[in-house]
């Protein structure tokens, strides 16, 4: 059996699990825990260095490589599906180790770079990032440490959405567009004169909504003058033409009434 030393099997809730159970039985859950213990080979390597109270700069490559390999072997022994990343690191350590062991050619001295330099740089950077991760975890976090404060308000309910604005010019343009669509522009030339008539038509119809019968004379307002009388008269003729009203005179020389056509039917049926 492999010598264990005090290699941890992993960490459970931040505490290193140092001893493998005597009977070598590891519950399946624990296996996964071990796998997930280290965030990767850099994490493991850093742990090994820190545990031995070694300096990253003076990275003692031999013992570290040995320990790392032991750990990896142990994981293999436990039939853990080892992440390829751990093996990549193992290969890297082995390479550095072999380069350290080779005698250095004196002529190359100027270009000679410590084979550990790159790994040391990475380890230091990784250590810095681990610290950063720790800082982030310690920062106050929304929904864990603090909650956004809100007060109730009824102000929102009183907000009225503003009504769209329309300018007169847009209306004329829209009319022109509508008529263009119908290719009816020529036959529907709208004259200002006629608009007064149409307005009067609407007014007479509106009056008929409330009063079923209107005296013709009531529709002529003397204060409007001759022009007003003409407009009213034209409106009545137009309404008759469009079959919207009826003009009735029961007997000659009696009052002429303007009624809704519907009214006629009502009277004739009763």
């Amino acid at each position: 059996m492999r010598q264990q030393q005090s290699l941890p099997l992993g960490f459970v809730r931040g505490k290193p699990v140092l001893e493998k159970p005597d009977d070598l039985y590891i519950p399946p859950d624990a296996l996964e825990l071990i796998l997930e213990t280290f965030a990767g080979p850099m994490d493991l390597l850093l742990y090994l260095i820190r545990r031995q109270k070694l300096d990253i700069i003076e990275l003692p490559i031999l013992p570290i490589t040995q320990q790392y390999m032991e750990y990896v072997e142990m994981m293999k022994d436990l039939k853990l599906e080892l992440a390829a990343d751990y093996l990549v690191m193992a290969a890297m350590l082995a390479e550095i180790k072999s380069r350290m062991l080779l005698p250095r050619p004196a002529s190359d001295e100027e270009e000679d770079v410590d084979p550990r330099a790159e790994l040391v740089r990475r380890l230091r950077e990784y250590e810095a990032i681990r610290q950063g991760a720790q800082h982030l975890d310690n920062l106050p976090q929304a929904e864990r440490d603090f909650f956004v404060a809100h007060a109730n308000t009824t102000a929102r309910e009183t907000v009225e959405s503003p009504l769209p604005e329309v300018v007169l010019h847009e209306l004329a343009l829209a009319m022109s567009e509508a008529l263009a669509q119908a290719k009816l522009l020529n036959s529907h030339q709208v004259q200002r004169e006629k608009l007064s008539t149409r307005e009067r038509m609407s007014r007479i119809l509106d009056l008929l909504q409330h009063k079923k019968r209107l005296r013709l004379s009531d529709l002529f307002e003397p204060h409007e003058g001759r022009a007003g009388v003409v407009v009213s008269f034209l409106a009545i003729l137009e309404l008759v033409k469009e079959a919207l009203v009826e003009v009735v005179q029961v007997n000659p020389f009696t009052e002429i009434h303007v009624t809704h056509r519907e009214q006629i039917y009502a009277h004739s049926t009763t």
């Binding site: 909650f147 009824t154 009183t158 769209p164 343009l173 009816l184 709208v190 608009l195 007064s196 056509r261």
Partner: protein, 197 residues
């Protein structure tokens, strides 16, 4: 638990709870700390006094205590949700124009001229705005309603009567358009000027 801590905690709870919290809920919330009802009451009273003159106040409503904004601030706060006015659709404007220029008119007449059906939403919007109203029915099968514009419509557009409606411009789609050619020419000139900069 110190009363000062309890006060901070209750204050924070009232500001984050989705609904008002009752005295009882607060007592229950601090069951582990053996907080008494008397202490909760005391804290609530203190908080109500603290916030008396602030922008938000602690109010006791039917379902409990909650913080809410001072009622006087309604208008200023409401601006947060004030939307920019939208624009009416072309369909609505054309419908309104047809009613204005061709009144009294039925929905069928409008549909015939526009070649598409008029949505009830448009008619409803125009009626709610007070710009059109039903002035009668055409005595044909179905008795369709006759629409006309209202005096609110005239007021909105500052018109004394319909005869003041502008004459209808030539539609922009026809071929013989001296105005449009001139416009294009101007655009090119403007573009050139920009390029020369």
């Amino acid at each position: 638990m110190l009363i000062q801590q309890l006060k901070q905690a209750i204050e924070a709870l009232l500001f984050v709870a989705e609904a008002p919290l009752t005295e009882q809920q607060l007592v229950d919330h601090f069951a582990a700390e053996n907080v008494t009802r008397k202490q909760v009451k005391e804290v609530l009273n203190e908080l109500q006094a603290d916030y008396q003159e602030r922008g938000v106040q602690l109010i006791h409503v039917a379902s409990g205590y909650r913080f809410q904004t001072r009622s006087e601030l309604g208008g200023i706060i409401g601006r947060l949700w004030q939307e920019k006015p939208v624009r009416y659709s072309q369909a609505l404007l054309e419908t309104l124009a047809l009613i204005a220029y061709r009144q009294p008119i039925t929905r069928g007449d409008i549909e015939e001229i526009r070649g598409v059906s008029v949505s009830s939403t448009i008619m409803k919007t125009l009626q709610e705005r007070g710009w059109i109203k039903v002035v009668g029915h055409r005595e044909v099968p179905g008795r369709p309603q006759l629409y006309a514009t209202t005096s609110e419509f005239l007021d909105y557009f500052s018109l004394r009567d319909l005869s003041e409606l502008p004459a209808i411009p030539e539609p922009a789609t026809t071929a013989d358009q001296p105005g449009q050619i001139a416009q294009i020419k101007l655009e090119i000139t403007a573009e050139r000027a920009t390029n020369e900069e």
